[in-house]
Amino acid sequence: MDITFKNVNYIYQQGTPFEHKAIEDLSFDIPSGSFVAIIGHTGSGKSTLIQHLNGLVRPSSGDVTIGDFHLTNDSKVKNMKELRSRVGVVFQYPEHQLFEETVEKDIAFGPENFDVPKDEIQKRIREITPDVGIPEELLKRSPFELSGGQMRRVAIAGVLAIKPEVLVLDEPTAGLDPRGQKEMMNMFYDMHKREGLTTILVTHSMEDAVKYADHVIILNNGTKYMEGKPEEVFIQKKALQKVQLEVPDIVQFLNAFEEKFGKRIPYRRQSIEEIASEIQQFLEGAESS
């Protein structure tokens, strides 16, 4: 499903002394099947943006279009349930949403609400649990007996079991150790590729954005600050630093390399190995001259 925001504003507690603008004149397009990273500090409007994607809030003004669904201030989405079954959201610390007696029941909770037939739910559980790394023997256990990392996986399985077309991930790796973070991001990326999902990743990690996303949107104080391909956005060190964001390590290094050696190695999202061989070639070239 294509997603479009057109001049979207969102104002909290409108008409009270506590009124404040969370999103201001925000416009962007997310084509179906793309992997988009949304980056910004706490309070930049990221979480308000997410809530528009499955109709948890409606814009104060402007239009939000998600596939065939339209959200505006004065019109209610007729089939909200269908919208929510097609846009899955993994919120920050999703393990906090677990509540059922067994892991299996918790995973089945979403699909049940969306009236998926029982045998289809069972089929999905068998499919999804190995993908997210939940061993079968855990299915009958209480989710509250599991480790933090396992609980997180169960909660994510609960969203994936809805089989959404759009998957929204709000800092899905927060609080995990490095290995857990890497495993989880790779899992989402594989799924994105395999299922052709539209994936929207909200993150603080420039490294993840550069590694997985094909489009980056940077938010600052509720407005769109920058947008583009990662390799275009992340080389703009000055602009990023202005909103207290750092460029990814690799770009930082290439900048410093240029300063020291007077040699510019343009960043094209090369892997670390490719960069190494470019440096090697440069050093060798310098030697032979």
Binding site: Q13, T16, Q51, N54, L56, K81, R84, S85, G88, V89, F91, P94, H96, Q97, L98, F99, F109, G110, E112, N113, F114, F144, G158, V159, I162
Partner: protein, 267 residues
Amino acid sequence: MSNSLIIGQYVPGKSVIHRLDPRTKIIIIFFFVFIVFFANSVLSYGVLTAFALASMFTTRIPMYYIIKGLTPVWFLIVFTFLLHLIVTKEGSVLIEFLGFKIYSGALIQGFAISMRFFLLILVTSLLTLTTTPIEITDAIENILHPLKKMKFPVHELALMMSISLRFIPTLMQETEKISRAQASRGVDFRTGPLKERVKAVVPLLVPLFVSAFKRAEDLAMAMEARGYQGGEGRTKLRELKIEKRDIFIYILFVFVVAGLFFTRNWS
């Protein structure tokens, strides 16, 4: 967040009433609640009402705000009045229509009860409007202090109250977050038959309790790590001090009480 629930929500300010020692406010209100029941003449009600209204104006909290805060209570006051009008059968009949007789005694009693009710609500909401919950907690701890000798857990009670106050906003944010997550998984909190809506509360309450227990456990550990071991030998940062203005209010209140008893039975 909801804006409608403002009965007694603290409104920051610098008025004399705001700055009174919270103990002063609690003690005076305690006695006020007590003496309201001694009023029995129009004039004695007048004395009390004058005191209550004067206090209200002194707070400088906008009138409309206080009145709006009392909205749900207005209904009760009017209802009490009407009930007395119908039920009480004393004195002489004043009006008679559609088979109902309204007695003079009913009018007087209805007026008296509603008036008492109004005064009680107004004065107690003045306390919470001008005093932060934590000040009230401190004051209660201080007032109950003598009970400590009787092994009453005064300090623990006060600590419990202050921690609850501290965590109310946190838990409210948490509730909002969890309900968002469950709504995204297809839970409908707003529409549908009552039975379904009651069922929808389970996926909200269970995670909320689980998280509250986790927080309690963490907090207990953090408190222990910071050397907490009960109320024994503790000092306090928050200090309560009786100032000149408190003495003044006490004297004024004594006059009000005297005035009340003087005007009793006047008619």
